[in-house]
């Protein structure tokens, strides 16, 4: 698995390179700017680009724009956006009409090596990784009529993990239950929320996020 990194902090860039290398993900390119990132991606066609949302020169939205550019024009490269703040609006902007091969995580998540590496792999494989903070923000959003209230606590947990982009297998491991049990919860949730059941995990992510956002 090959990755490129765009991060302007040397400390983090080196740390990430080492971390990914130690976990079997080869960092084929690392750079500081969005421009260099796009060149790297076009040239190296990595499986995944890990992008800091705040890049030089203005430290505004260069990173995000580069990520959207890759999503639009380099379908073979998945994008994982890292940021020191997570915003529902930014997540929706990044996903637009598909959660395939897209991730948006708080930078803090790097410290949880196992989870972070799993998220990188998931995104690189065409799945998605949405920060738990975004999911919890959406779940806690006040609604006048709230169908989420009809969910059992367990179903809520499953919904949360599902929205983060985890597969049924991943959810089962996280909650220490069987995959069959997860499947049962999932179909119950879809029934209660009146969501059409959909194929892939990432399509499921988008459907849930859009539902929660509304």
């Amino acid at each position: 698995m090959r990755a490129v990194i765009a991060e302007d902090s040397v400390l983090l860039r080196d740390g990430l390179t080492r971390l990914l290398g130690d976990n079997g993900i080869e960092v084929v390119g690392s750079c500081e700017t969005a421009e260099a990132l796009l060149a790297n991606v076009r040239e190296l066609s990595p499986d995944v680009a890990i992008v800091d949302v705040r890049l030089p020169p203005t430290h505004n939205d260069e990173g995000l724009r580069a990520a959207l550019e890759i999503r639009a024009h380099e379908p073979s490269t998945a994008v994982l956006v890292l940021s020191q703040y997570v915003e529902v609006g930014l997540a929706m902007k990044l996903l637009a009409d598909s959660a395939d091969g897209a991730g948006y995580l708080l930078k803090d998540r790097i410290g949880d090596v196992r989870d972070f590496i799993a998220a990188v792999r998931r995104v690189a494989d065409g799945g998605s990784a949405i920060d738990p903070l975004i999911v919890s923000t959406l779940l806690s959003k006040r609604r006048s009529v709230d169908p989420l209230e009809s969910l059992t606590p367990r179903e809520r947990e499953v919904l949360e993990l599902m929205a983060e982009g985890r597969s049924n297998q991943g959810i089962a491991e996280k909650l220490v239950i069987t995959v069959r049990a997860v499947e049962k919860y999932v179909s119950s949730i879809f029934g209660k929320l009146d969501l059409p059941s959909s194929g892939t995990d990432s399509r499921r992510v988008l459907a849930v996020l859009l539902y929660l956002r509304a």
Binding site: S9, L11, L12, G15, L16, R18, L19, D22, V53, R54, H59, N60, D61, L64, Q84, Y85, E87, V88, G89, L90, M92, K93, K107, D108, I110, G111, D112, V113, F116, T137, L138, S140, K141, R142, R143, S144, R213
Partner: protein
Amino acid sequence: MALPSVTHDPGVSAGRRPKPWVLLACALGGIVAAVLSILMALKNEAVHGELGHPLVVVILVNTITVSYILCGTVAWWRRPSSHFGPLMIAAGGVNFLATLSWATNDLLYTVGQALDLLAPVVFLHAFLAFPTGRLRPRSVRALVAVAYVAAVGLEVVRMALGGFGPHNLLEVTNRPEAGAVVAQVQYLVVGACCLVGVGVLAARRRREGPPLHTSLTLLVDAFALGLVMIAVLFVSQALEGPALQQIRWAAFVTLALAPVAFLAGLLRDRLARTAIAELFVELRKDPAPADLRDALARALHDPSLTLAHWLPEFGCYADDEGMRVDLPAEDAPREATVIRDHHGDRVAALIHDPGLAEEPELLAGVTAAAAIALENSRLQSELRARLQDLRGSRARVFEAGTRERQRLERNLHDGAQQRLIALSLELGVLEAELDSPDASRSIDHARGEIATSLEELREIARGLHPAVVTAHGLEVALEQLAARAPVPVQLTVTMEGRLPDPLEVAAFYLVSECLANVGRYASASTATVDVSTAGGGVSVEVIDDGVGGADPERGTGLRGLADRVEALDGRLRIWSPVGGGTRVRAEMPCAR
């Protein structure tokens, strides 16, 4: 720089107003003099023979005395700044002294006879000196001087030549034939001077245009007629023409009526007051009108009026267009009145028809009104400038604060936050390398601490500056606010592209604070947030259905928001009736 030649300054002239007892003495003196004069005439047999119809002449002459002294007294009282009043009193006085020639006492007779022709010349002097009481230009002064010399000098010479009877103390020799020749010369010279005086009056009218008011026209006509009558009388006397008696009577009546015309002019003061009242009504509607000059010109009935503003930094006057204006010189056919503020500093000057000197009340009132209007407009523009300054400095202070907070946020982001993340990453790597459950637990704990620190730093950074707004725009940032709001929020954002950062940040804080308030106080069940660009600016409206009764003066939240909005030249309005929910609306213009 030509300084004002004549300054009709109401404040100054008021100080020179004569004492009431002086005026009273003048008036009584005039009446007493007339009575004495009549008594003298009645006692003196010789007067009968000389004058023919003595009673008519005596009464007419004394009417002139009383008329001039009384009118002069009124003029002095009403126009203390003009020498015209005292000059009229003097004319009346001299007219009385001339009647001393009716006395039987030698000394009195001699004085009276010597001053016999002085009175007509004083009339000439007074008429030509109208309205200021000064003789201008020099040629007019020379004319009057010649007339004085002819009237008094030649009279003394004539008396020295004898033929005046037993009371003449000046008689040196008795040659009445020579005296008659001198008398002829004397009459002709004084008569000619009077005719030239009429010419001067006519030339003045031609040069200055017709006087502003019909009463003034009448007055000047009365003066001219008086001079003509004196001239006719003297020429007739010199040439021993016919109907001398009738001419004499007509001349006396004309001379007696001139001061009455002057009094009629004084009555115009009432009209002046009306004009001033109208001006004040006009100024009340617009205390600093752009066409102040026109308003003043209307009030003064002087369409040729110039309003010249004093420019202290240039030391000169300028008109509305900024063109330099010099005040008229001594002999110019215009006059200037300087307008001063309450400190006594000049602020402007009115350059007007000299005839207005005849209406000092009007001029003083209009000048005062102009001073108020000018002061008003100066204060207004000063206030505007200060307000502009204040607005500018508030915006600068606000901007400097914003920049500083943005810098701190950036430092936090690039410094402490990155280092903590890197540290957390190192710990993760270390954990994998150690592969020991005990170490793993400790490292997990340390990472948890780091996560908490990062969360706290994030909160601080967000409080310093909403980087998301600057980086990704108001719409993205508002979605997060709405998602985390304490009540369901209906968010509508209608924006075309990005707005200047300060506007977006202000709108963000506004919505953030309002939604926080909804959670804290409103007990609302829903809220709507409406943000839209309007004319390059932005309008923000947050409405909840809570308990209302929010008071901007209580607590710093709403006040702080108002400050933030006003620093951007915007306006914040709050409607919060008790029980009726709260509506906060801010409009911020773009142009800055």
